[in-house]
């Protein structure tokens, strides 16, 4: 009998594992984007307060962004092992440039007159940042989060090479055994997850920016 392109009964026989890998994929993505966002926000605030730091910050995160991920994992494994930490160091690194650029561009996009009025009303810098600048920059910041999230969902599959991987585990498994079904299931689910998270972020943006409706 000829091997079918997809063995549907493989899927039904592995539902439990698919569920577990979904959770793992979400975890790896969520931690990467979450930690990336916190670091990117801190560096962006630094760049906004001390303008001269912006150039070195984008230079450094730009270099991180260009390191091939496989090479980065290979370099890290001797130090941090085949752990989630190794995976996250790589994944977080790749989110930084996109997030920092969007956060800084978003805050810079706040109209000068709005900032002028806020200062003249008696706002102090931190409160103005959280109550005026950050909300007005939300659309641009979320645009950055969307790109970072979609990119990360794809990159997570590569961490299968260091024993993590989420859906990447299926892709890796399929490649090693010349077995199409898990390879395609892993790839299709990864794409579906990226689309789902992107849509979710669009909804978050809509909820956070009622004035744009």
């Amino acid at each position: 009998m000829k091997e079918p392109f997809i063995r549907w009964n493989w899927i039904s026989g592995h539902l439990g594992e698919i569920g577990a890998r979904t959770v793992q994929h979400l975890e790896l993505t969520g931690i990467a984007v979450g930690v990336g966002f916190v670091i990117a926000m801190s560096l962006s605030i630094l760049a906004l307060r001390r303008r001269w730091t912006y150039s070195p910050i984008t230079w450094f995160t730009g270099i991180l962004y260009t390191i091939p991920s496989i090479a980065l994992f290979a370099l890290l494994v001797p130090i941090t092992g085949l752990t989630i930490l190794t995976a996250e160091i790589g994944l977080v690194s790749y989110t930084l440039l996109i997030l920092i650029r969007n956060i800084v561009a978003g805050i810079d996009g706040v109209p000068a007159a709005t900032r002028d009025a806020a200062v003249a009303m008696g706002y102090r810098p931190w409160r103005m940042f959280f109550e005026i600048e950050l909300p007005l920059a939300t659309p641009v910041i979320i645009a950055g989060l969307r790109i970072a999230t979609v990119t990360t969902v794809g990159l997570v599959t590569l961490t299968a090479l260091i024993g993590q991987g989420g859906y990447g585990y299926f892709i890796n498994d399929g490649l090693r055994r010349f077995f199409n079904t898990p390879l395609f299931v892993g790839a299709a689910l990864s794409v579906a997850l990226a689309v789902a998270l992107d849509v979710a972020l669009v909804l978050v943006e809509r909820a956070l920016t009622p004035w744009r409706r």
Binding site: P111, A113, T114, R115, D116, A117, A118, V119, A120, M121, G122, Y123, R124, R127, I132, P135, L136, T138, T209, P210, W211
Partner: protein, 325 residues
Amino acid sequence: MFRTPGSYDPYMSDPAIRLEQVTKVFPGGDGAAVNDLTLEMPSGQLTILVGPSGCGKTTTLRMINRLIEPTSGRIIVDGRDVASVEAHELRRGIGYVIQQVGLFGHRTVGDNIATVPRLLGWDDARIDARIDELMQLVSLDPGLVNRYPGELSGGQQQRVGVARALAADPPVLLMDEPFGAVDPIVRERLQDELVALQSRLHKTIVFVTHDVDEAIKLGDRVVLMNIGGVVEQAAPPAELLARPASDFVKQFIGARRGLRRLSLIKVTDVDLEQREGSALRLSPHDTLLDALDAMLRDHVNEADVHDDGRYIGTLTMERISSEVR
């Protein structure tokens, strides 16, 4: 309290705002933006700073609430040297309106108005009551309270801007070309409303404009500035028109000085003759310009002024022309 004769005592002061030998030099700037400026803004009056671009009028305004720090000199607001107060504390007590309005686009009209009261920590009930009061004061439809600024017209946005500036009832209001970005019809209405508002509130207002007509229409006192923050003349509008202190003032005021002057004088402000009989009737609210216009249209040389049907006196063409000089 010990006082040397002639010294300035802030607690005895009548002017709400006083600039003492204020100079501002911007780094890399071409000379001083404001040079050794001494100026008083009387309490409860609307002082206009007017002049060509580069005369330092906006710089002067922005030094009052410390958006710009002077290079030297002192600025006193309500008896306090502004440099002795924390900048954000000072600003919460001074209303501020700008041409671009600068509303917070992510906040509703009500929340925009509530800005300073929230910074001052008022409770919600007091803030809500104040929002209602201010919406009414600046003639905004109460139904707009939950709208966002992006949904409003330019005129409505500037009304919100004025309401926001007045929210915490500051004694001093700074206005930087507030009506410069709206169309002429809306501008005129907003100007009229400001006059009406001011006749009730008696704020100390400093108002920057480059428009002489606006200056003459709104100002209790007009400070005409020249390049480098030099005061060419500071006087009530009628005096500025009647006795321009320099060629620069004459030139800046421009043509039709006489007609502009007539627009400032009410028919009841001049001596009327007692010889009732003209077919043309005027009301006490009419200005000499209104009277002139009516006389020219009716081809008559005099008009009777009546107040609610009661004859007050007769205005003649000669009287009008003697006011123009």
